[in-house]
Structures are given as structure tokens and as C-alpha cells.
Amino acid sequence: MKKILIVDDSSTIRKLIRYILKKQEYRITEAKDGMDAMEKLASLEADLIIVDLNMPNMDGIQFVKNLRSNYYYMDTPVIMLTTTKDAELKRDALLAGVNLFLNKPVQPNFLIYKVEGLLKGE
């Protein structure tokens, strides 16, 4: 079973994504910010990470930078969910190593499709 980590400071968003991906039978773990996610990843070998941009303690970009500096997670697909229209932030995030940007609110089927694709290595 594939393992997915959802990193978002909003418990509603975490629940929603869990709900959207329910049928796919992934093992889903939640983290409430970048710091929490780093701790969870120490024991969890995630196959895909869905991360928010703006979070307390450690934001999405910093989290992805930290993530990519870890040998094990160098290629793990990362989807960033965000509402930002700030092109500069998006560029920073992509440079940090985000694989895909999705705007909130995301279409549930589109998210499922993209998650499946990234997990298959597409």
C-alpha cells in the first residue's frame, strides 16, 4: 500500500484530502506543519507528499528544501497545494523541488489522477 503524507496547518484541508483520496486505499498520514512533517518522515517512508505553502513553524518551501537535502527523499514526488498567485513564490517552490503545483480548490478527480500518475512515476 502506498503511503501519502499530507502537510497542512488546516485540519479541514487534511480531512478533505483524506476524503478525496479515500477510494484509492492509500495509507495516509497527516502533519500540521513542515516541522511536524519532518518528524513524521523520520519513521514514515512516504511515497508521495502533498504540502501546503503557507504554514507556521516551517513553511512549504523550507520544508521541501529540507526534504530534498535528505538522500532518501530526493525523488519523492511532492504536490504543492496553494492559493497563491505570486509567481515568484511559485518559482522558489519549483526550484526547491516541488513536482507539481495545484491551486486550491482543486478538482477532486484531478487530484486523484495526478496522485496516481506521480506514484506511477509519470
Binding site: D9, S10, S11, T12, I13, K15, L16, Y19, K22, D52, N54, M55, P56, T83, K104, P105, V106
Partner: protein, 603 residues
């Protein structure tokens, strides 16, 4: 079909999560907005930004587009503050608070109706206006564009602005040209709304647990009794040992469980105190008072239901302090006080009780005015008033229907006086004290129990009946002897040190056939400003009692707060002392209440 239902169920759960989360975020953001005005701290601003940002994201996900749009606009303003494009001043804070108020209302709408419907075009325009660069200087023009003020009114405003150098918006509010009414309307509605449940545990479950614990406490009492009975009668030592073991075990478990459940229900009073800065900010604007607010002891914990019940009385007391207590800056200066009045609110633990103290250094209470008012209303005679100590006279302020403020203002005069505050606090088994020095200060002290359901009581016997007297009210026991009780105006009284304490003889009410109490004890009880003595044939001891309501049929009996079941399974009544005092007072004046103890003797 099933799947669809479970899907709906899950969606409902997500929306519930959304409501709880958003309300928490908004509540925190409101507190922080009030703070940034004085202290534009980056971390605070980031926090507010994130809160609004999160709500924008989640609401758009869930299709609450109006809410999403409003939070989007508010987020833009916060973004500008964050980038230091603008300084958060009172105007900006007002607009943000207005937006947050509407967001909260929308979430309430979602909770009640499943969708949000509010006309927020006005707030949206204000936010958009803040988002335009450097437009704020021309606030007058915008007001004209919106048709809120006329050209001539703007000229006048600008003229005034030159004179006192305040912001145009402030002057416009002072001149009653814009939005204050809207703001107070929104606030009133917000007040009327019941608060979201904020412990992240289902409260019904907790209540159930609390009831269970109540039953368990009764079971423990039964076991303890059984144990003592068996000890007296049985020779079987093994059985006795087992029984003792069980008793000890049940007792320990019960105690632990009781504590744990109580703790789970305890909420820091900060939940309530956090709302005060906003309230005081709004009130001081409304009454043109300058107030230095001090809050201490936010982490003091008490039962959740008490926090809720404390909400209205506390807000009323604060309104009173701001409206009638603290003087206007000019008046204060004349008295040689600093222009800023001090309003201090403190909470602390004192044994099994919580003390909440509300202090202001305002004009205090003029006892003569209070007495005059009481006389004028014919509530007490001149003789009665003259015989009163200062302390007792202060207590007059709690008499129903008494308002010493010359003019009823729209804030304090909402039909609730200090009498309602007192009634509400006493309903929680608490007490209110007032102290004051005229022209200097007023201090209200509220004493509340940690929890309502379980309390320590003194069990006393009157004739053959047992009664439970809440232990937090009992101050001392006096052994009866001949000549101790004096007769004052045909009423019995006890002279204890320098106090004259009126005596309540329950035996007269319980059952008239029995003889009078000539020996036994006087239980001296202190409730608020009043002291009474209750005659008892004997004192059985202290016990933990679980308060059970008497139910619809027997409810509202004067002087009885509820009942409890003792170890032997017998029901005994718990005295409601404030009501006993009231009842006793009316008996003294020759008034015969229709329902008394005699009709409800619990046999």
C-alpha cells in the same frame, strides 16, 4: 445508497471540522487584531494572515464562495500590512474586525443553514479601499462616492480634522455619519449567538461521564456503609477483608475518575477573558472613556458550564464599570486622577473555589444614593436602613429593580441589573461581594465552585429529617445552650461576638408536631453579604454529595436546591441557602409562601 449516506456523513464531518477550526482561528485573529493596533508585532500579523488565509482556502474548497471572497479581500489587506505597505491603525483594525465579525456570522450561517448569506458589500468595499495604494488620505471622497455623506458634510469633517487632528473616519463616527450603528448591530447579534463548543471532546460524552461518576460516588457511599455494617454484625473475617479491599479499591478509583473527569471539563478562564479586550475597546470608544485594562490569571481553570454561565454576568459587570464606574477623562483630571482609568480583572484559585475579581478606580458607590433609592422605592424602611452596616448597605445594590445610574444608557441598561448578576452567580452556587470607596474605586469579587455537580456538604438533622448544607457556605458551628438565642422583634437571633445573626428554624417548617430545638447546634452560614444561622438537632458530618435536580414536578421549591442519595439509599434535600434566606425574609414580613418544605417531606 449506503455509500452515498456514508459519503454525506463524511462530508458533514468535514464541514463540522471546518466550522470548529474556522471559529477558533477567527476568535484568535480577533484577539490579535486588537493587539496589533498597539503593538504591530510581525509574529502576530503573520498569525492573523495565516488564519484568514486558511479560512480562504478551506472555504473555497468547500464551495462557500462568499466567505472565501471576503477572507480573500481581508487577506490582501493583511498581506499589505505584512509587507509593511501600511501601518495597522484604528481604521484598519476596525475594518478587519468588521470583516472577521462577518466571517464568524457566515460560519454560524453555515452551521445553522448549511450555506452563508450575508450582505457584506459594504465591508468588501472598505477592504478593497484599503487595498488601493495611498487612497486612504481621501477617505472623505470615498464616503461621498458611497453616498454615505454629502459633499458639505465632508467639508465640515475636514474643518474639524484641522482643529483636533484626529482621523477623518474617527470624526465621522463621532459625528454619527458612518457605521457605528452597523458595528453595534453586528456585535449585538454576535452576543445573542450561543458560543461554539470549543473543547475538542464531545460534551455530551463528557456529561455522560460526569453522570456516571456521580452514580459511582453514590455506589462508593453505599459500599462504605455496607462495610461499616458488616463490621458490626459479621464474624466472617475473610468476607470482611474482601469487602474492605473492594471498598478501598472503589474508593480510590472513584476519586481518581472523579478528578480526571473534572479536569477534562475544566477550561482556562482565558477563553472568557480573551474576549474582554475587544469588549473594552468597543465600550471605551462608545463612552469616550480612556481605559487601561489589566488581565491576570487567564490560566485559572474552571468547569466549562461555569465559564459559559459566567459569560453574561462578567460582561455586564465590565459594562457597568466602563459606563458608570470609570469617569470621563476630563472628570478624572478634575479629581486629580490620571485620565486613563484602570480596569483590572483577575482570576485565581482559592482552595476549592475560584475567585474572579473586577476592580475599577472609578467613582465608586455612594452609599447614601443607594439608600435613598431603596427608600424612594419603598423597599426598606428608614429604620432598617439606618441600622445597616456599611457592608450590608453595599449589598443593597443587588436588590432587584434598583438602578442608581441617573440615565439608563444603551449598554448597561439592557434590563439586567446587579440583581441579575447576583442571581446568576448564586445559581452556580457562587457568591458575589462588593466593596467600594466613593470617588476612588469599586471591587466586585465573585466566588465560584470548581464544578457544579459534586460538592462537599455538611449533613445536619432537623427532627428526623436530614439536610445537606453546602459546605462552602458554612463558616462555623455554635453549640446551643440555654439563653444563647435572643429574641429580637419576635424573631430569634444569635449574638456571636459583635454580630447579630438571624436564626432559621427549619423544624417549624418541616414538621410542626415535633418539639422545638433546645439543644443541638447552630450552623452559621455566610452567603455574600448575609449571615444566617440554621438550627439543627445534631450534626451528622461532612459528605461529598452528588447534586440531583428534583425534576419538573418538584422543581422550584423554595429553599431546596436539589437532592442527593446517601449511603443507606435515603434521599436527602440539599438546601439552597440564598433561597432559604429569601424565604425566611418573607416569613418575617408575615408573607406566607404557598409551597414550603412541609409538602415535600421526602419519605
Amino acid at each position: 445508497m449506503d455509500e452515498k449516506m456514508s459519503q454525506n456523513e463524511e462530508m458533514k464531518e468535514i464541514i463540522e471540522e471546518f466550522i470548529v477550526e474556522s471559529n477558533e482561528l477567527i476568535e484568535k485573529a480577533v484577539e490579535d487584531v486588537v493587539r496589533i493596533e498597539r503593538n504591530p508585532d510581525d509574529e502576530l500579523i503573520n498569525g492573523i494572515f495565516r488564519a484568514v488565509h486558511t479560512i480562504k482556502g478551506t472555504s473555497s474548497f468547500l464551495g462557500f464562495n462568499m466567505l472565501s471572497n471576503l477572507s480573500h479581500k481581508a487577506e490582501d489587506v493583511l498581506g499589505r500590512i505584512r509587507k509593511k505597505d501600511m501601518e495597522p491603525d484604528a481604521d484598519i483594525a476596525d475594518t478587519l474586525l468588521e470583516a472577521l465579525d462577518f466571517m464568524k456570522l457566515m460560519i454560524d450561517d453555515i452551521r445553522v443553514k448549511g450555506t452563508e448569506s450575508r450582505d457584506v458589500s459594504h465591508t468588501l468595499r472598505k477592504l478593497e479601499f484599503l487595498n488601493k495604494a495611498d487612497t486612504r488620505k481621501k477617505i472623505g471622497e470615498i464616503l461621498i462616492d458611497e453616498g454615505v455623506i454629502s459633499n458639505r458634510e465632508r467639508e465640515e469633517l475636514l474643518e474639524k480634522q484641522k482643529q483636533d487632528g484626529k482621523k477623518l473616519g474617527e470624526i465621522a463616527i463621532e459625528e454619527k455619519l458612518i457605521t457605528e450603528k452597523q458595528l453595534s448591530n453586528v456585535l449585538a447579534k454576535q452576543q445573542a449567538h450561543k458560543e461554539e463548543q470549543t473543547i475538542r471532546i464531545d460534551v455530551r460524552k463528557l456529561d455522560e461521564l460526569m453522570n456516571l461518576v456521580g452514580e459511582l460516588v453514590l455506589g462508593k457511599n453505599r459500599l462504605i456503609l455496607l462495610d461499616s455494617l458488616a463490621r458490626k454484625g459479621s464474624n466472617n473475617n475473610a468476607m470482611l477483608d474482601t469487602l474492605s479491599d473492594v471498598t478501598n479499591y472503589v474508593e480510590a478509583v472513584t476519586n481518581d475518575l472523579q478528578l480526571a473527569v473534572m479536569r477534562a471539563r475544566l477550561v482556562p478562564i482565558g477563553k472568557l477573558f480573551n474576549k474582554i479586550p475587544r469588549l473594552v475597546r468597543d465600550l471605551s470608544g462608545e463612552f469616550k472613556k480612556q481605559i487601561d485594562l489589566k488581565i491576570e490569571g487567564e490560566s485559572t481553570e474552571l468547569d466549562r458550564s461555569l465559564i459559559e454561565a459566567l459569560h453574561d454576568p462578567l460582561i455586564h459587570i465590565i459594562r457597568n464599570s466602563v459606563d458608570h464606574g470609570i469617569e470621563a477623562p476630563a472628570e478624572r483630571e478634575k479629581k486629580g486622577k490620571s485620565q486613563k482609568g484602570v480596569l483590572s480583572i483577575k482570576a485565581c484559585n482559592e482552595g476549592n473555589q475560584i475567585i474572579v475579581e473586577i476592580f475599577d478606580d472609578g467613582k465608586g458607590i455612594n452609599i447614601q444614593t443607594v439608600k435613598d433609592k431603596v427608600k424612594e422605592k419603598g423597599l426598606l424602611s428608614e429604620g432598617e436602613l439606618n441600622g445597616m452596616s456599611t457592608r450590608e448597605a453595599m449589598g443593597l445594590i443587588f436588590i432587584p429593580g434598583l438602578s442608581t445610574a441617573k440615565k439608563v444608557s444603551n449598554v448597561s441598561g439592557r434590563g439586567v441589573g446587579m440583581d441579575v448578576v447576583k442571581t446568576n452567580i448564586e445559581k452556580m452556587n457562587g457568591q458575589v461581594y462588593i466593596e467600594s470607596e466613593e470617588d476612588k474605586w469599586t471591587r466586585l469579587t465573585l466566588k465560584l465552585p470548581l464544578t457544579l455537580a459534586i460538592m462537599r456538604a455538611l449533613i445536619v438533622r432537623v427532627n428526623q429529617e436530614l439536610f445537606a448544607v453546602p459546605l462552602n457556605t458554612v463558616t462555623e458551628l455554635v453549640k446551643l445552650y440555654d439563653g444563647l438565642i435572643k429574641s429580637v422583634d419576635k424573631n430569634e437571633a444569635l449574638v456571636l461576638r459583635d454580630m447579630v445573626i438571624p436564626i432559621v428554624d427549619l423544624s417549624k417548617i418541616v414538621d410542626s408536631s415535633e418539639s422545638r430545638i433546645d439543644e443541638g447546634y447552630i450552623v452559621v452560614c455566610n452567603i455574600g453579604e448575609k449571615i444566617i444561622g440554621i438550627k439543627a438537632h445534631s450534626v451528622v458530618g461532612q459528605e461529598e454529595v452528588v447534586m440531583k435536580p428534583l425534576g419538573e414536578f418538584l422543581g422550584n421549591i423554595n429553599g431546596v436546591g436539589g437532592a442527593t442519595i446517601r449511603g443507606d439509599g435515603k434521599v436527602i434535600l440539599i438546601l439552597d441557602l440564598p433561597a432559604v434566606i429569601e424565604h425566611y425574609g418573607s416569613l418575617r414580613r408575615g408573607f406566607n409562601p404557598t409551597r414550603t418544605f412541609s409538602q415535600i417531606s421526602p419519605n
